[in-house]
Every structure is written in structure tokens, then in C-alpha cells.
């Protein structure tokens, strides 16, 4: 097929050049990073081997927070798995953006770039509960989504920061949610019993899951800021917890920056084991520009302080902040050079690591429904240096990130490297 490319990457180091430049970083993790950076396109041959009864296929009714890079909702394979167990969370990308191809090579699924074989891959597999309904008739796949070893629930796919047009500029959550609501009838709020029943079914599949992740858009309502959001998470976590013999169960909450009282409630009243609150960009000036809602309602320094305080409650190795790697280079107010951006980001990440907060990143993928939809993400070289730098900070400060690693998440090149810690 012939497509006019909008991006050629000719002025950047190639995958093979980056692999050669960083012999201490595994080629498979560099491949994952580049695939996330550039996106993928499934060939018809690759799609011919999708078996919806076996493989995890995107379903518009499933509450994924963010949209795809091509803005199209299609029943495509959810994501990919490499032979070392590394997940590649990636969505379908327009061909003119020059993505990797997922094709068949010698009858097996493979990543291909410009005719060159890169690696064999596999599709994720569907858990059994996806075909079941709760006693109230709701398809369980609409309550929890699955990754190779993780269950995820989206508490709210509406972010209140967007109400005053102050949503994070890289994010498409509300536009994606709005589009879904246009496409599908709005789903009612999930009831605790439906949550509990779905978890009960998921646990019937031995060896299928190692962790549960809760997340959603920020909810500003309540007596105090985020009180309503905390109440919703407590209700959900308690419903999940009904199914476990132990009070605590491997779990991650990715939420707004809660105050100490709210965090103590979460820890004491539920089985939650870890807490993540995303600063998104580790620089106060860029944060104020890129995340105006977070800046107005909490502020950069206070957000940091709340993360640090949460270490006293959840413990070292159980608290993280997420950043959108590369968004600090967004135009027009981002860093001009990758070197400067990297230095600033890692310095700030170190100030958090010293206090027990670990930093993880996702590869920024400009999506159609976001303010930054027409921008480009950073170079592969940048992402590899960022992954390595964040990993080295964990080594230096003795921080584990087991709740958000290759298996319990799979979306962070830096925490993929934590398999060696």
C-alpha cells in the first residue's frame, strides 16, 4: 500500500542504532518503547488470525479511559505480548504516521518495520468472565477489563478538571467518554454487588491475575475536595475485598492527590496496597501550563507533598507518581532540548525518590481528542534514556515498584526494567 507519510523519523536514530547505543538496556524493552512511540497498524493477514472467542478484542462498551490514536473504535486486538512476557500497550495508528506493522511472518504474528522482521508477538487472551453477566444483567466485561495478568476498573470516565476547560492538554478522557456515550447508551454507575460478583468470577480462573488496578477521572465533588472520589473508591475496594480471605490484596489506585485524612481512610477501610497519583510532568512551570486543572485545584508543590505524605501511610515501595514521558517537550512552552528535559525530569524524580516516591512514565501518544493532538512525541533515544534514568533512581534509593511492573501493569518501559531489582 502507498501512503504519504507525515512523519519519517529520518532525523532520528533508528531502532537498531538505539539498541547498539545502549547495550545495557534490553532490545525487547527498546522495541516495546518504540512500538508504543510510533504505534501499530494491523494488516489484513494479522487480523485474519484473530479469534474473538480466544483473544482480547477491543469493545467500545468497555470503559477504557483513553481513545485510540486513529480515533476509530473498531474491534481490534487489545494489545500485544513479547516472548519475554513484556506487554506492549498500543493502539491502532494511522498509516501516514508511519507505525509498525503487525503482520504474519512464517505463519506467526510479528512486528515488521519497512519490510524488516522485528520480533514475534502474541495477542492478549480473553478471560472467561468476559462472556458472563452479573446477576443484575450487566456484562462483566463492562465492569472490569483485563490485561495478561491484571484486572482494571474505571471508576469514572469523566474528569471534572475538564468542566472549566482545564483538563490536561495531552489527555482525551472526556472527549473519548463523550464519543462513547454518543456511540453507546450511557451505562449506569456500577454497583458494588456487580463489582464483587465480577471479581468472584475472575478469581475462578487459576493463575490468570496478579493484581487489580482502580482508576478514573478526577471527581472534585464532596464536602472537601475529592471527598466524593475517595468515597467511590472505598466503596469499590470494599466490594472487591469481599472476595479475599486476607484484608490486603495486591492492588493499585491511580487517582487524584488526596489529603492525609483521605489517604488514611483508603488504607484503613480497604484492602488497598499501593497508591499512585500522577503529576504528569515533573516541572512546576510546565505542569501549570499542561495540567491547569491540577494546578488550580491542588498545585504542583502540594501535589508533591501529598505523595510524600502517602509514603508514611502506604510505605516505601508502595507509592508512585506517573508522568507522560515526552509531553514536557510539547510546543510551544515545553523544553526546547531533550537533554534539558531529561535532566530536569530526572532531577525532580530524584527529589521524590529520596522521599520514597517512585516515578514511572508512559510514552506520550498524541491522541485525536486531546489539545496536543497535532504534536509529535519524543525520540526513541530520549525514551530509552528516561527509562534507564528512572530505573537507576529505583536502584539507587532501593525502591521497588512491584505493584506497577511488567506483569501487574505492562505500560511503563522503566518499570519493565525492574524485573532485575
Amino acid at each position: 500500500m502507498s501512503v504519504a507519510l507525515k512523519r519519517t523519523f529520518e532525523d532520528e536514530l533508528t531502532l537498531n542504532e538505539v539498541v547498539a547505543l545502549y547495550p545495557d538496556i534490553p532490545r525487547l524493552v527498546i522495541i516495546k518503547t518504540d512500538v508504543q512511540r510510533r504505534g501499530i497498524h494491523y494488516t489484513e493477514r494479522a487480523l485474519s488470525v484473530v479469534e474473538p472467542d480466544i483473544h482480547l478484542v477491543n469493545d467500545p462498551k468497555i470503559s477504557e479511559l483513553f481513545g485510540s490514536r486513529d480515533g476509530v473504535k473498531k474491534p481490534l486486538p487489545a494489545s500485544l505480548l513479547l516472548r519475554d512476557g513484556t506487554s506492549i500497550l498500543v493502539s491502532s495508528t494511522p498509516l501516514e504516521e508511519n507505525p509498525y506493522l503487525v503482520d504474519l511472518v512464517d505463519g506467526r504474528l510479528a512486528l515488521v518495520d519497512d519490510g524488516e522482521f522485528i520480533e514475534y508477538v502474541e495477542f492478549w487472551r480473553k478471560p472467561r468472565f468476559y462472556d458472563l453477566k452479573t446477576s443484575s444483567g450487566i456484562p462483566m466485561r463492562q465492569i472490569f477489563s483485563a490485561r495478561p495478568q491484571r484486572l482494571s476498573i474505571v471508576q469514572s470516565s469523566y474528569c471534572h478538571f475538564w468542566t472549566n476547560h482545564k483538563g490536561c492538554r495531552f489527555c482525551d478522557i472526556n472527549n473519548n467518554n463523550k464519543k462513547r456515550n454518543e456511540d453507546e447508551k450511557t451505562q449506569p454507575r456500577i454497583k458494588p454487588q456487580d463489582i464483587s460478583e465480577t471479581i468472584r468470577e475472575a478469581l475462578k480462573e487459576p493463575g490468570r491475575f496478579t493484581g487489580i488496578c482502580l482508576t478514573g477521572g478526577s471527581v472534585l465533588a464532596g464536602n472537601g475536595l475529592f471527598d466524593k472520589e475517595v468515597d467511590l473508591y472505598i466503596e469499590t475496594l470494599q466490594a472487591i475485598g469481599e472476595n479475599f480471605a486476607t484484608k490486603k490484596f495486591p492492588s493499585q489506585l491511580i487517582s487524584s492527590a488526596f489529603n492525609q485524612k483521605q489517604l488514611e481512610r483508603l488504607y484503613k477501610e480497604t484492602g488497598l496496597m499501593s497508591y499512585t497519583s500522577d503529576l504528569e510532568v515533573l516541572n512546576e512551570e510546565k505542569f501549570n501550563w499542561i495540567c491547569p486543572g491540577k494546578a488550580d485545584n491542588v498545585g504542583y508543590q502540594e501535589w508533591k507533598q501529598r505523595l510524600i505524605q502517602s509514603v508514611d501511610i502506604f510505605g516505601k515501595g508502595h507509592v508512585a507518581t506517573g508522568i507522560v514521558g515526552g509531553v514536557e517537550l510539547a510546543k510551544p512552552y515545553g523544553f526546547i532540548s531533550e537533554d534539558e528535559a531529561l535532566r530536569s525530569t530526572l532531577d525532580e524524580a530524584e527529589s521524590l525518590a529520596e522521599k520514597g516516591v517512585t516515578t514511572i512514565f508512559v510514552v506520550w501518544t498524541p491522541r485525536p481528542g486531546s489539545d496536543f493532538h497535532d504534536q509529535h512525541n519524543a525520540s526513541l533515544d530520549y525514551y530509552v534514556r528516561l527509562a534507564s534514568g528512572l530505573h537507576q533512581l529505583r536502584v539507587k534509593y532501593g525502591l521497588t515498584v512491584d505493584f506497577d511492573d511488567y506483569r501487574r501493569c505492562g505500560n511503563h518501559p522503566d518499570s519493565d526494567l525492574a524485573r532485575l531489582i
Binding site: R83, G85, P148, L420
Partner: protein
């Protein structure tokens, strides 16, 4: 390049009563050798190893091997003085999916409340017959200087 294991070696590897030792190396080249029952051959001739602990040294070393093209070694000793060493390369690890879940269930039925971190797939590259009489004959033939003279001396007449 991958090789095929002999039928004799496959039988030994699949016998739970046979001792098998898995040797890996860490980042500094320090070896780590552990006795393992959970090593066996698959239908395709490759070796499967069930790793029960995600945080074990062996698992870390296997991750390092699959990432940086490293190799491992498996020593096997049989009831009839068989001694083999297999050099191999970890090429896959199943942390999810049907193969993983099958072994997850089986290993828990067999060992009780244990974890399964992954099913490692090791491609055999070389097999060395370590039986001492075989190795001595081989050395006598190929390296005739490597022997003490008294072994060659005439037996004193009585």
C-alpha cells in the same frame, strides 16, 4: 543453533526422581546453581523450567539471559551413572496464557500453596556426555599427553 535431545536424555529429564541442576550467572558473572525437579522436555524438544519465585536469583538471571542473549547450563545425573550437561538459551517465558495456567494448576496440585512465576522455554544448544569413563576415554584418545606416567607403567611382575 538449536539441537535435538536424545531419547535417553529426554527420559532422564522427564523423570522426577532424577537430579537436575540449573546453572545461571548474574550480572557480575557469579554463578548460581540450584537443584530443580521442575525441569522437563516439551513435545517440540525444547526444555521447560517452572520458576516458582518471581524474585529468585535464578529468575533474575534468566531474565538477564533472555534480554542479553545469555546461556544457561543444566546438569543431569541418572540412576545408571549417566551424566549429561546441556547448554541452552532461554528464548521465551510464559507468564500468562494456556501453558502457564496449565502448569499453575498442576504445580499447585503437586506442591500445595505455591506460586508459579513463569514457564521458561530453553532451547538446547549443546549436550556434553559427562560420564567419567566416557570422558576419560575421550581425553585419552584426543589429548594423549594429559595423563600421569604411572598409569602407563608396566605392571610389576610378581
Amino acid at each position: 543453533m538449536a539441537i535435538q535431545l536424545s531419547s535417553e536424555l529426554k527420559v532422564l529429564l522427564n523423570d522426577r526422581k532424577v537430579y537436575k541442576a540449573l546453572a545461571t550467572v548474574d550480572e557480575a558473572g557469579i554463578p548460581d546453581v540450584v537443584l530443580k525437579h521442575s525441569i522437563f522436555t516439551a513435545e517440540d524438544g525444547r526444555i521447560h523450567y517452572l520458576e516458582l519465585l518471581e524474585s529468585s536469583r535464578t529468575n533474575h538471571n534468566l531474565v538477564r539471559a533472555i534480554w542479553f542473549d545469555g546461556t544457561v547450563s543444566i546438569a543431569v545425573t541418572g540412576p545408571d551413572k549417566q551424566r549429561f550437561q546441556i547448554k541452552g538459551r532461554p528464548v521465551e517465558v510464559h507468564i500468562t496464557g494456556p501453558l502457564f495456567e496449565k502448569h499453575y494448576v498442576e504445580v499447585r496440585q503437586s506442591l500445595g500453596d505455591v506460586e508459579l512465576s513463569g514457564v521458561w522455554v530453553i532451547e538446547p544448544l549443546e549436550v556434553i556426555d559427562e560420564n567419567i569413563s566416557f570422558r576419560r576415554k575421550e581425553e585419552d584418545l584426543n589429548r594423549p599427553y594429559f595423563r600421569h606416567l604411572d598409569r602407563l607403567a608396566k605392571t610389576p611382575q610378581k
